[in-house]
Amino acid sequence: MGILFAILASLSWGLSGILARLAVGSIGTLAGTFISLVASLAVIAGAVLVFQPGSFLVLTLSAVLWFAFIGVVSYLPGRYSQYKGIELIGASRAVALSAVGPLFAMVVAVIFLKEAVTMPILVGILCIVAGAYLIARRT
């Protein structure tokens, strides 16, 4: 069942990029980002009610402030940049390039959480850099 959900996650994200490709250029990117976030809000609110209905009761102020901060510095610019990128260079390139996220996650984790860099991580970095170069080079 877990494997099925993993495949569904991949399909959903892949499809999200395609749907964005069909949407971009119609209304402004910021307006599109807002519409898309409203839809996400509805889905996640529904999921909270179904899977974790009591989670409102255990919220702390620090948790609310921290995740509100993440929403402003991360969700909004992340989705806006993704849609604008898709508009400018197409879904294939933009989605592939935006998949280099683990590289930045690793850099941030090493700097701020003092996590160790292992050999598989180094090989992963090389793969991502080479992949990004291949996508960005003019053919």
């Binding site: 949407a23 209304i27 402004g28 999921a47 989670s55 390139r93 683990p102 992949g131």
Partner: protein, 149 residues
Amino acid sequence: MITRKVLLWGYVLSVGAAFFWGSTSVLVRYGVGVAHLTTPLMGALIAVATGTAVTFIGVCGAGGINVAGQRRGVVFYLLSGVAGSLGVLFQFLALSLTPVTVASPLVNTYPLFTLLVAHIFMGRRERLTWSIIIGATLIMLGGTLITLG
């Protein structure tokens, strides 16, 4: 005709999106530990609600949304948002039922799915080259190695 400047901006913004998504996972991990949030979905809800509210302010400041005659764009943006958040939920469920060594490589295949569908249904607008296919595969592999490493 796509100019060099447009291409460059497209690359910068796409990698920028990756930076924001990548940072999010670390910020969430940090937040779950420091802010003692035991319900990650609730965290996602707070983050998306705040992001939506701030975007709404930005949209109002930019003159609002004119959706007249733009039904197609509105519908596809809505569907894109639904698909994106369903991806997060499915990943959440996958990781709660399967080891990360199994779930992560599968979840990271999403750029290949985008390439395939874009090529099949938007072949004229989405030109697919071997460079893009190999590049996306390398990024997928690298992302998986970093996640598991």
